[in-house]
Amino acid sequence: MERRTFLKASCRMCLLGAAGLLLPGLVENVKAGNDKYYKTKVNDQNQLEIPLALFDDTTLQIVRVKGWDYDLAVHKKEDGTFAAMLMKCTHMDNQLSVNGSGFSCSMHGSQYDKDGKVTKGPAETALVQYKAVINQNTIIISE
């Protein structure tokens, strides 16, 4: 087989494989909506209120708070409690992206797990956390 033919065939295989891997995830993400933002703002009690129903189909919800420079990631833990973390890299304050197993920073490669703990440097400290408690059908987030 010529090199050109081999490369072409390999590329096609890679594309097909990637499409096969991407499609189920894409469909799942769209169904679960876990990458769509829930928009809210700080209320008069200096709290954020998030509907508990948002977590019916997902364990992670990104929250866009009006006027904030970083999004908030609210994570439902296995024990049913919630963690609210600021999506700001603790190394140099860059915005974070969600990946399959946590959060990553594109600036220097820092990675965090779903609980905000550092798994790859250069960051050394965990993500900033807020209190998150359930009150009836709402999650209340505060300092």
Partner: protein, 412 residues
């Protein structure tokens, strides 16, 4: 004139975006003191110092020689001017010593740019920065890749760390886990390209870049479950000379004259201690023949490289901070996969290489790494036409070699 107008309106837009938002008192109160940068207002200024570095020992089996060097010591300095505007820099010293006219060491600015936050999803950077091309270029800290040496493909095909001067726009999509970036930077200089190093020597790295020629780079990242897919590309002119000079060399000048194209695709997977990286890159330089005629460099019209790496953290299920990653990586590349027709191009078999690397990375903390590996190299045959006036005592070219590497790295 058009460029100046474009720059003016871009700056105007940045200033507008930077000061467009303000926060109410109630919104500020919810933020913690620890997070004072985010709170805005009083205490929003801060200067950050951090950095990374690496040192290694390498033994070359063919030459029976060994070297030890402080490969890199890099100092980051960042400053937050306001909630919306920050400065980042990386000052690098390679091989520890820079003195007189010796070529052992190097001092260089690896990055120095301003960052303008537009919103939680998007920002613009301007200055000297490292574009998102491939895996390593953006994530080049020693704690973040396996192997004492950086992957060969991301050193010689994608010339990491590849930084240029320009403006970049970064963001992520609202409704799907898609990150994107696009940047306009100064182009490469074809006069500095050298045989055997791909496009690496054509980089200006922020130092008096010829900016008649420009380049565009862009990348798309898609995260799904534990996979990260990325496509990235670069397209730019390589002749920064004025019209008279470029015409005299029979080269096409201008912003995108005598273009070089680079495309890269990569996939990363991380799950339960298993990590996989696969990357492929191709460079097309259609007018390499013209450049060879002008500068006698023997450049290729096509180059490719690819690698696959599998790693496993042996301590993953012990739920401890430490990581002990055993890994294996196989790389192939050909820096003259296609050549201009003779006499403008002569094939060099030594540039068709495969590398097999296997070893360990031990990280007692996520910020400190101790590495050890072995690299086995195989190349094609040497072309006698390129072995000009060999000395009488020259040893025959060996197509196989091996290296033993031991190193340390840190980042903070």
């Amino acid at each position: 004139m058009k460029k100046i107008s474009l720059l003016f309106f871009t700056l105007l837009f940045l200033c507008n975006a930077a000061f467009a938002q303000f926060r109410t008192q109630a919104q500020q109160q919810i933020l913690t003191n620890e997070d004072s940068l985010h709170a805005g207002g009083v205490g929003d200024k801060k200067t950050i110092l951090s950095g990374y570095g690496s040192a290694y020992y390498q033994h070359n089996a063919n030459t029976q020689t060994s070297i030890a060097t402080l490969e890199r010591a890099v100092l980051f300095v960042g400053h937050q001017f306001s909630r919306k505007i920050a400065f980042f820099s990386e000052l690098e010293i390679e091989n520890a010593l820079v003195v007189g006219n010796e070529t052992k060491g190097e001092i260089a600015m690896e990055q120095a740019f301003l960052k303008f936050n537009l919103n939680p999803n998007q920002y613009i950077i301007a200055g000297l920065f490292i574009p998102r091309i491939g895996i390593l270029n953006e994530n080049h800290l020693p704690v973040n890749f396996n192997g004492v040496e950086r992957p060969m493909v991301e050193t010689w095909v994608i010339p990491a760390t590849w930084r240029e001067l320009g403006v970049g726009f970064y963001g992520r999509a609202r409704n799907m886990p898609l990150n994107y970036s696009v940047a306009l930077v100064n182009g490469l200089n074809s006069a500095d390209f050298t045989h055997g190093t791909g496009i690496r020597d054509g980089r200006a790295e922020g130092s008096m870049a010829m900016a008649n020629n420009l380049a565009v780079t862009a990348a798309l990242q898609y995260n799904v479950r534990d996979f990260k897919f990325q496509l990235s590309g670069y397209m730019g002119g390589t002749v920064g000379l004025g019209k008279r000079a470029s015409d005299s060399l029979s080269l096409d000048g201008g912003a995108m004259g005598t273009p070089v194209y680079l495309g890269a695709a990569d996939v990363q997977y991380n799950h339960k201690g298993i990590s996989v990286k696969v990357l492929g890159a191709y460079i097309a330089y259609p007018d390499a023949g013209k450049v060879n005629a002008a500068y006698a460099q023997n450049l290729a019209t096509g180059m490719y490289g690819a690698y696959a790496e599998l790693g496993y953290d042996l301590l993953h299920f012990r739920k401890k901070t430490a990581q002990l990653v055993a890994f294996c990586r196989y790389e192939i590349m050909d820096l003259n996969a296609s050549m201009p027709a003779a006499p403008e191009g002569i094939y060099d078999g030594t540039l068709k290489q495969s590398h097999l690397i296997a070893g360990f990375s031990y990280l007692p903390l996520p910020n400190v790494v101790i590495k050890a590996d072995v690299r086995l190299v195989h190349t094609g045959e040497q072309n006698p036409l390129l072995n000009i006036n060999p000395p009488p005592n020259q040893l025959p070219y060996k197509q196989n070699n091996s290296f033993l590497n031991i190193g340390i790295g840190y980042s903070f």
